[in-house]
């Protein structure tokens, strides 16, 4: 407790609310409110309607939602596989060659530092010609998302591995379990809560990815963020808001489901 007098405490809380609510809570309330409206020329939106959601539930908007979900699923699954493998490899390297381990770790974290737009551009430059002609296919979008989110999977699995008590694997190894067996029966089950958290993070980031997608998307594979941009760009802000709510809702549902799996996994 830093502030002891009661009036001063209330003053601090009032100042906090005066900053926090308008700056952080208002944006989401505003988008949700706008998605049910047709106009906004006063303090509150006007012309209550569900039409934007009816439009969002069919045709192109529904396709975009399915596209986003499939892209995020494929990207986060491959990111989780590669990120877990690389985190395990870096941990193994670190115990023998510290510097090498750190260098490999930096290499896997590099996609965080490189602008997403540039990741998109580089895939466009690399895979627009044979032998690997991916430009214009959904694969290149999935690939870009996977590149961007693998670093986050790698980072969270690395953090989880460093918190893992080595006693369990040492005990298993001393009882004669092979390294593969230790990995499958001891390490991965212990990592399960962190793995599902990493999967949720990757999924959410991929659902909202716009920068690299704008560089790469083929006309038949439009993820939700691109359709939100297209709607606002042609001036239909209110249907854009409804699509944004669908995007946030889908992300939240998946995150909640993943965190339920996580609590169950940590009870085992």
């Amino acid at each position: 407790m830093l502030v002891h007098s009661r009036p001063a405490r209330w003053a601090v809380w009032a100042a906090f609310a005066a900053v926090f609510l308008p700056v952080f809570a208002l944006p989401f309330l505003v988008i949700v409110a706008a998605s049910f409206a047709t106009g906004w020329s006063g303090a509150l939106p006007s012309g209550a309607t569900l039409a934007h959601y009816r439009d969002a539930a069919r045709g192109d908007a529904l396709d975009a939602l399915v596209t986003s979900l499939l892209t995020a699923l494929a990207a986060s699954a491959s990111a989780l596989a590669v990120g877990t493998w690389s985190a395990l490899a870096v941990q193994a390297l670190r115990t023998r060659a510290r510097r090498l381990g750190r260098a490999v770790d930096t290499l896997f974290m590099l996609p965080v530092a490189v602008p997403s737009v540039v990741v998109g551009l580089s895939l466009l430059v690399a895979f627009s010609r044979p032998p690997l002609l991916l430009n214009g296919t959904p694969t290149i979008v999935v690939l870009a998302h996977a590149v961007l989110v693998t670093a986050f999977a790698h980072q969270s699995v690395t953090a989880a591995l460093s918190r893992l008590d080595p006693v369990y694997e040492q005990a298993a190894a001393s009882l004669g379990a092979s390294p593969a067996h230790v990995l499958r029966r001891v390490k991965l089950p212990l990592l399960l809560p962190s793995l599902s958290a990493a999967a949720g993070l990757c999924f959410a980031l991929s659902m909202g990815e716009l920068s690299a997608t704008m560089m790469l998307y083929p006309p038949d594979w439009l993820p939700l963020p691109v359709t939100v941009f297209a709607a606002t760009d042609r001036g239909s802000l209110f249907s854009g808001a409804a699509l944004a709510v669908v995007l946030m809702g889908a992300t939240l549902i998946v995150l909640t489901a993943v965190s339920r799996i996580r609590t169950r996994a940590s009870y085992r």
Partner: protein, 309 residues
């Protein structure tokens, strides 16, 4: 699942029968294990194919425009353009401004959540986590409804004064981008700070207070030194993310505000000038990766300090 896992070891023969001493695995590399560097090869190969090789091609295209020979002429062309210089200045100024804003605001808000606790503070820090998983362009979209030409703020103003249009018209200027970036990136500063604040001993604060230190003095002399490493790490990460931010600037839709990422997009997709885009991309990568190196060295220093403490 649990029963199966529990019973399996018992059905196996005891691994070292007849009093034979078990061969203790020396170090982490046990019998039958592949060497660590071989374990690292498959993910490195994937990373090389889908990330490093494409980046190398971007670099190659920027220095050999026609696919043959080495030439810096593309750099000369791009660097001479006023649009590029404007974008560079915009990018750096907006990123530095947004980072300063996010650091100050994030420090103040995290301070209240951690040290002047109130009911619902836990839920609030969970809200901050959710905030982090949403895409940045939602903030610009929301600001369009709050400060846009037909938004909440201008609506209130015209309703109250009867004027034809409201006074708020900054969304399509760099200030609009700055406001959106401060909003979006403040939680990225708050999260490491909240973690660092939870390590601060309350007894230290009580001792300082009982010796007569005022709250601002405690913040300056006790809390700030403790939080400085996290603040530096969070701030430099946000600086890199601001330099690379694309969605917020794109959604602002301002012709006047170009940053390096939007310039890359404009050159490649709108103009079809891939060589120019690659040049801008190389400049952007150099800037961001240099700063990211700084961030990595700060966080590894923090790790060393924590290990020593």
């Amino acid at each position: 699942m649990a029963e199966r896992g529990g019973s399996e070891p018992r059905t196996r023969p005891f691994p070292f029968p007849g009093g034979q001493a078990p061969r203790t695995p020396r170090g982490p590399r046990a019998r039958g294990a592949v060497p660590a560097w071989a374990l690292a090869l498959p993910p490195l190969a994937v990373l090389g194919l889908v990330f490093l090789y494409p980046l190398a091609l971007v670099l190659r295209q920027s220095v050999s425009p026609d696919g043959g020979g080495f030439s810096l002429s593309a750099y000369g062309d791009v660097l001479a353009q006023a649009a590029f210089r404007d974008a560079l200045v915009n990018t750096v100024l907006i990123a530095v401004g947004a980072t300063l804003g996010a650091v100050v605001l994030g420090f103040a808000l995290a301070l209240v959540i951690a040290f002047v606790p109130f009911p619902g503070g836990k839920a609030l820090s969970r809200f901050v986590d959710v905030f982090l998983s949403f895409p940045s362009f939602l903030i610009t979209l929301a600001l369009l409804f709050v400060y846009g030409t037909a938004g909440m703020a201008n609506g209130l103003w015209t309703g109250a004064t009867g004027a034809a249009h409201g006074p708020f018209d900054f969304l399509h200027t760099p200030w609009g981008v700055l406001l959106a970036e401060v909003t979006y990136f403040t939680p990225f500063v708050m999260r490491p700070l909240l973690a660092a604040f939870s390590q601060v001993e309350t007894a230290q604060l009580e001792a300082a207070a009982s010796l007569g230190a005022t709250a601002p003095r405690i913040v300056r002399r006790v809390i700030l030194p403790e939080a400085l490493p996290s603040l530096a790490a969070g701030g430099s990460l946000v600086l890199v993310m601001c330099l690379n931010e694309f969605g917020i600037v794109l959604f602002t839709g301002a012709k006047g505000v170009t940053t390096l990422p939007t310039l890359v997009y404009g050159k490649a997709i709108l103009d079809g000038d891939y060589t120019g885009a690659c040049v801008v991309a190389v400049v952007n990568i150099a800037l961001s990766v240099a700063l990211y190196g700084l961030y990595r060295s700060i966080t590894s220093l923090n790790g060393v300090r924590r290990a020593r403490a």
